[in-house]
């Protein structure tokens, strides 16, 4: 029996003021999301790193439609032998998750048998399956986008709102239905590699170097950077804060018109992404381009462009060299097994899909709902444009349908804003895990994606770094070593401020953080496994990365001089920042 991290303080909390009963019409399949209950103390909960700000009332739809429904539907339909998906709890506004374990051995065996049948067919047909799901999402997305909400009747608006929610729910149904079998294949392939005694350092390279929409976006950002330089906008970018750049460029008039129109075209294609995964409170780049503009601003500070062609070539070369190196150690018989498994893993490439799907699902599936909610706020004459994000779904639909008045909820909205702010403040001190911490978890999704390995569990259970020199360790996610000034970020809000050569220290990174990888020297994350975004992007960009450190953000301070060794998975604080207050973020 492992350490027990008490969750009493979260039991006492009553949640958002005036929250309706959560389970009314929630689309959960096995276990509904909700607040912590006393019996939850016997289970193992980990703080999900994807939502570092906490969720607004409307944002909590994610917990139901995405996290609960998506994972549970997918886990039951594959099925996963030992898990029924993820159970979700909220502590204040923050999301904790736990696996839902299948306990009966007979049932595990039965489910394993069914998975054996389903898995090979899925993997073989994956390209067609993904193409068709992608088309489905794309078509629905385009349809939703094309609706002119300003001309919609109340009834049409209500209908649209439901459709927007359904888009998100369906997108995450697809998400997990693809993710589980892809990950199963990846882990199976890696298992084979381990049995074949293949150097573990090579395995991470086998599936890299395939182009994704996310990389494509990064390339476009660099192209815009080059264009801005060519258009003589360099000094304008240099002297203007990201927040005022849009204005400043507009003020340039004719001189910047060409660039502006290119930037708008870029936003129209690549701008439908948020600075975090599936959070209705987050604006897209199209809605608020501060993030891409800030990124271009920092790109301009370096004098040379990131050579994507060269990076891609070297990723491919590294991949092929890794495959050759691995194959050379195998007998002919083993090569046949390896080749077949590699082929399957490339056809149904988890590492690739894990980036690619973010463009279609994670970073934009919530946007139609956000657009509808904001439009509703406008229609209804809300005090603030985002008031509707502080309504729960039944309240929002009732208000849109005219069954309730927004005005009668105004006080509640204000209370909820305070509640949200209060918990956002508390985020840094939230326990990384709650309940009964096991010595190890068996579900490889938790291990691979969330980095809940033995070391992590020990570190978070102890709650402090090892004695003596500040030397932390985690998963060696991307090779190489570097030293640099630490930039500790709680969320993506200040990501565009990160400077070239700094070491990014954070809870975890989301796919939208990738542009930063073109300029940082290293990356250190509290969470994340070999298949986390940080690990994958770190390898693509050749940035030394250590994940699953557990205590990085609570141990390393902004401005500390740190050494990151992504080959051994260690992070050392060489010199602490002289005065933490002075080094704090602006």
């Amino acid at each position: 029996m492992g350490t027990i991290v008490p969750l009493e303080e979260f039991l006492a909390d009553e949640g958002y003021p005036g929250a309706p009963l959560a389970e009314q019409q929630s689309p959960w399949r096995v276990e509904a999301a909700g607040a912590f209950r006393p019996e939850d103390a016997s289970r193992f909960w980990f703080l999900d790193f994807h939502w570092p700000r906490g969720l607004t009332p409307l944002g909590e739809l994610w917990n139901e439609d995405g996290y609960s429904w998506g994972t549970q539907t997918a886990a039951e339909s594959l099925p996963l032998p030992r898990g029924r998906g993820v159970a979700v709890r909220t502590a204040g506004t923050h999301t904790y998750a736990a696996e839902i374990v299948v306990r009966s051995a007979a049932e595990v065996a039965d489910r394993a048998g069914r998975m054996s049948q389903a898995l090979p067919r899925f993997l073989r047909d994956f390209p067609q399956i993904w193409a068709s799901r992608q088309r489905e999402i794309e078509e629905d997305w385009e349809e939703l986008r094309s609706v002119d909400l300003s001309r919609s009747s109340r009834k049409e608006f209500s209908h649209h709102l439901v459709r927007a929610r359904r888009h998100h729910k369906r997108a995450f149904e697809i998400h997990f239905q693809l993710m589980y079998p892809l990950l199963a294949n990846y882990i199976a392939f890696r298992g084979l590699c381990t049995e074949l005694d293949i150097d573990p350092g090579l395995i991470g390279h086998f599936l890299q170097g395939y182009d994704t929409k996310i990389l494509e976006t990064d390339r476009e950002l660099w192209r815009l950077t080059a264009d801005a330089r060519a258009a003589g906008l360099g000094s304008l970018f240099a002297r203007t804060e990201p927040e005022r750049l849009m204005e400043a460029i507009a003020a340039e008039g004719e001189r910047a018109a060409g660039w502006r129109s290119r930037f708008e075209k870029f936003l129209d294609i690549y701008g439908w992404r948020t600075e975090g995964i599936s959070d209705v409170a987050l604006a897209s780049w199209s809605e608020d381009p501060i993030s891409p503009l800030g990124t271009i601003k920092t790109f301009l500070q370096g004098n040379s462009d990131h050579d994507f062609e060269a990076a891609h070539r070297s990723a491919v070369e590294e991949r092929e060299a890794a495959v050759d190196a691995a194959r050379s150690t195998l007998t002919l018989e083993e090569q046949r097994s390896f080749d077949a498994a590699l082929k399957s893993s490339r056809t149904a490439n988890y590492a690739w899909w894990n980036e690619e799907h973010d463009f279609y699902i994670d970073l934009r599936a919530m946007l139609p709902l956000r657009r509808a909610a904001l439009a509703a706020a406008g229609h209804l004459g809300a005090d603030r444009p985002d008031d509707t994000l502080f309504l729960f779904w039944p309240e929002l639909t009732a208000v849109v349908a005219g069954e309730r008045q927004l005005a009668e909820l105004t006080g509640l909205i204000e209370d909820r804003r305070q509640y949200y702010a209060h918990w956002k403040e508390r985020r840094a001190s939230m326990p990384k895990v709650l309940g009964t911490v096991p010595d190890a978890v068996s579900d490889p999704i938790l291990i691979e994606v969330f980095g809940l390995n033995k070391h992590f569990l020990e570190a978070v259970a102890a709650g402090r770094p090892p004695e003596g020199d500040v030397k932390l360790s985690g998963i060696p996610a991307s090779e190489g070593a570097c030293s640099g000034r630490a930039r500790v970020l709680a969320d993506a809000d200040n990501l565009h401020r990160i400077e070239a050569g700094e070491v990014l220290v954070c809870e975890s990174i989301s796919p939208n953080w990738t542009p930063a990888f073109a300029k940082i020297a290293g990356c250190v994350c509290d969470a994340g496994g070999m298949l986390s975004h940080a690990a994958i992007v770190g390898r693509e960009y050749g940035v030394p990365t250590v994940t699953a450190v557990g205590l990085a953000t609570s141990t390393i301070r902004d401005g500390d001089e740190v050494h990151v060794d992504g080959t051994t998975g260690t992070v050392t604080v060489i010199r602490t920042a002289p005065d933490p207050a002075a080094a704090a973020q602006p």
């Binding site: 032998p81 394993a112 199976a188 074949l196 195998l330 002919l332 018989e333 498994a341 068996s442």
Partner: protein
């Protein structure tokens, strides 16, 4: 057949174990299949028996071992062992047997065109390291013996090694009479070893049969066989002879010939040799060819001891100086577990069975 001495290339396979013991018997078999083995002869089991009977050693042994019933009495075992071994070393063989042995030595010297030919004198017990695997390696071997007196002394030493405390205890505990476990002694030319080692036609740890595993170091193989040195480790694909890995070890000791002592001794490895790679691709090919030929001959996985002689030229065969069935994985009862054989990852024609591997490595495994 009562010859006291039998040449290696004259042994009849059917009676080999009974006449010259397991070790020399297998060497004879290998020599008859065209493998490159050292020249030599055996002082037969029969010669040993007659020596014990004619010189009164039998009576002495029975006298000393008769009262010995409790092998936990270490002192008693030790005393009996010392006395019997001393008697063996002090008892010269009869003139006829001694003559047969030295004449055979002279013949070997002539065949090798080396007057004082150096030989390895090896115990070759009947059934040794076959069905009575626990006896493997416990009897004496003398490397680098030369001349009549030295040879006769080494032969007596081999015989005496049948009565070490460990061998004695084993037989008493298992109710085996010393008469049921007689010994032959092999006398074979000592190959001037540039490098030596062992080779397995199966991975000795994982049991994978698709590869040959070679371990080797400079000089003679004693330091490796005794586990006194970490040797270079090589794995070779059996189907295509490709070198899959070559791990160069830091080799700290070496079995080398000491010309003053007149024997192979263990000594510090000269610094600059220690981290040097021992085998080149051609030598690896030759060792692989040797061990796979032995495997085909016996039809079961085997391990061998090989020597690359100082005169070795690319394309040559290596010397096989010992061979035996691999005893851990080589028997059907301990055969390769199909479930852990990566070859099972492919179902049918080059397919990949992700479910099996997912079950094993993902989702917490199966009940």
């Amino acid at each position: 057949m009562n010859e006291p001495v039998v040449w290696l290339d004259e042994v009849v396979p059917e009676t080999a174990n009974r006449v010259v013991g397991a070790k020399m018997g297998r060497l004879s078999e290998l020599s008859s299949t065209g493998l490159r083995v050292p020249r030599g002869f055996s002082v037969t089991v029969d010669a040993y028996r007659r020596h014990c009977a004619d010189t009164g050693l039998d009576a002495l042994i029975e006298d000393r071992l008769g009262p010995l019933t409790d092998t936990h009495d270490r002192a008693q075992v030790q005393a009996a062992s010392l006395e019997i071994q001393a008697a063996f070393e002090a008892t010269e063989p009869g003139a006829e047997l001694a003559l047969a042995i030295v004449e055979a030595y002279d013949e070997l010297a002539y065949r090798c065109l080396e007057v004082h030919v150096l030989v390895a004198v090896r115990s070759s017990a009947t059934g040794e390291d076959g069905d009575q695997a626990s006896f493997a390696g416990i009897f004496d071997t003398y490397l680098g013996v030369s001349g009549h007196d030295g040879l006769l002394r080494a032969v007596r030493g081999c015989w005496a090694s049948l009565f070490t405390p460990r061998a004695l205890s084993y037989r008493v505990d298992h109710g085996i009479s010393h008469r049921e476990m007689p010994m032959a002694v092999g006398v074979i030319e000592l190959i001037p070893a540039r490098a030596s080692g062992v080779a397995f036609s199966i991975h000795p740890v994982s049991g994978k049969r698709d590869r040959v595993v070679i371990e080797g170091s400079w000089g003679w193989g004693e330091a490796i066989v005794q586990g006194r040195v970490s040797p270079d480790h090589v794995e070779v694909g059996k189907s295509d002879g490709r070198v899959l890995r070559y791990d160069v070890a830091d080799k700290k000791v070496v079995s080398a010939f000491d010309y003053q002592a007149g024997a192979v001794v263990e000594t510090d490895m000269p610094r600059r040799w220690g981290r040097e790679r021992v085998l080149d691709d051609d030598q690896i090919r030759a060792i692989t060819a040797g061990v796979t030929a032995v495997e085909s001959k016996y039809g079961v996985p085997v391990d061998v001891e090989w020597v690359i002689d100082r005169g070795y030229r690319p394309g040559d065969a290596v010397f096989i100086v010992q061979a035996r069935p691999e005893t851990v994985h080589g028997t059907p009862a301990n055969g390769v577990d199909a479930a852990i054989d990566p070859a099972s990852a492919t179902s049918g024609a080059g397919g990949w069975d992700p479910a099996t591997y997912a079950a094993r490595h993902a989702f917490g495994g199966l009940p």
